[in-house]
Amino acid sequence: MPDHIVTAFTDELEHLSANLLRMGGLAESMIMDASRAVATFDLELARDVIKRDRAIDELEVEAEKAIVRLIALRHPMATDLRAVLGAMKLAGDIERIGDLCKNIGKRCLELTGDENRAAVKGIERMSRAVSHQLQLALDCYLRQDIEAAKTVLDMDDDIDDHYTSLFRETLTYMMEDPRQIGSNTHLIFMAKNLERIGDHATNIAKAVYYMVTGETTTGAKIESRLAEDDHGEQR
């Protein structure tokens, strides 16, 4: 797409998306570090994750200001309008991801260190899946790629399955050894937080789909849309 005649407009939009990608990058590393803190019982790292949420919050405020400014001064239209509205959604979703990571960090501080190893491994696996999903969602934002958006939506089912099995597994351990109930409950809540992060990554992919196509849509619709494109029926 050609640049705007008013170059400052292009610059501002680019600055906004760079800002969001930076936020996303921070969130991604928070997910991994939070799970590492849990796996290695590293309370220092957990505290660090908690602190880092501030940075994401600040970037969100900055992004919101930039968005208000763009709307008030540039009156974005069509693709630009969708880019700005999409950015608004992204900022909100990433900010929530930061909160959820912070939550995992806080719960980590409540652990005793002798939680069930299998459950801890489960959290680690789930974190990897979720942070991979977020990475892909941010990638699809960067490349405005609706094919990748579909993959992100598909991944969400896997993450939901992860959560369900982790929940059942942990519940079983707790029943076997009621002394573990306290700390393992934290693990269940962590898994729930990770599952929520997956939902936010999914929202990001949906926002990208809207930015690119101008249509809000379901996973099923993305699929049929892609199938259409496969048959060469370009819009």
């Binding site: 797409m1 050609p2 640049d3 705007h4 005649i5 008013v6 407009f9 009156h75 974005p76 239209m77 069509a78 693709t79 630009d80 309008l81 969708r82 939506l153 969400d156 089912d157 939901d160 959560y163 369900t164 729930k192 599952e195 929520r196 939902d199 999914t202 929202n203 949906k206 196509t213 101008g214 249509e215 809000t216 849509t217 379901t218 996973g219 099923a220 619709k221 819009r235």
Partner: protein, 274 residues
């Protein structure tokens, strides 16, 4: 797990492309070409304009918006060099038919120009002139009524009722433009054409005209040329994008400004190099 994907399915809102597709067509333009001497300014434009709605014409300077607008009340007849071919049907009747009297046609199709152009007469006579020559009023009382009604509809009555004999040119620019709209309404037209009606007005005067246009839309078919994307987006239901004498895209205003079909429309409304 929170049923996020399912929730989304329930709240799907795809843009409705046919939301105002059922409105009756007031002006049906078919295969219009316009030449100024041998230079072609309009290339085979066909366009159906809905009744009781506002249609905006947008496009870069010189793309033919004013030329096309002037076809609708045969104003191009008055331009020596201009030659129009094609057909325009208003309520089914071809307005280019030789049996149609262009003067009568122009009483059915009012026009408001970019620069307010009141006659060098009193406010009262500015409004009364049209109805008088078209014989719409028999007697002073009836004329008084037409003048008041037209000024009220144009939102100007309260501001001028005490000085109806003052010259039209003594009003402010925004008031003059509303006077011109009142003058256009006074002959009870069916269609009102406006060529950049707000380009010389401040934001408040512009807002008043836009509010007026929104009210007039209940009774009239309005076609408006504007260079302000925001104005087109605010007041129109349909938007037509012209480029180099061709109609590139025509559709619901909401669609044009959120998700236009054509790259060229996109580039123009987002302010990019085409």
């Amino acid at each position: 797990m929170d049923g996020n994907v399912e929730d989304f399915a329930e709240t799907t809102t795809t843009i409705d492309r046919t939301q105002s597709g059922s409105a009756p067509i007031k002006v049906d333009c078919r295969h219009i070409d316009v030449f100024y001497d041998d230079k072609q300014a309009i290339h085979d434009i066909s366009l159906e304009i809905e009744d009781r709605s506002v249609t905006a014409f947008i496009g870069p300077s010189g793309c033919g918006k004013s030329t096309f607008l002037r076809c609708i009340n045969r104003m191009n007849d008055t331009i020596e060099a201009a030659k129009v071919t094609g057909e325009i049907f208003m309520d089914g009747a071809n307005i280019n038919d030789p049996s149609i009297d262009p003067v009568l046609l122009r009483s059915r199709v009012g026009m408001v120009f970019q620069k307010p152009n009141p006659f060098p007469k009193s406010i009262y006579d500015n409004i009364g002139y049209g109805p008088r020559i078209h014989g719409l009023a028999s007697g002073k009382a009836e004329m008084d009524e037409i003048v008041e009604k037209s000024l009220r509809k144009a939102g100007l009555w309260e501001e001028v009722k005490d000085r109806l004999q003052a010259p039209g040119t003594s009003l402010s620019g925004g008031q003059q433009q509303r006077l011109c709209i009142a003058r256009a309404i006074a002959v009870s037209p069916e269609v009102i054409l406006m060529d950049e009606p707000c380009s010389a007005l401040d934001p408040i005067a512009t807002a008043k005209i836009e509010e007026l246009i929104d009210e007039l839309r209940e009774r009239y078919c309005i076609v408006m040329v504007t260079h302000s994307m925001q104005q087109a987006a605010r007041v129109s239901q349909k938007t037509a994008f012209f480029h180099l004498g061709k109609l590139i895209e025509y559709g619901d205003t909401e669609k044009i400004f959120t998700n236009p079909e054509h790259g060229r429309t996109q580039d123009y409304i987002t302010g990019r190099f085409g």
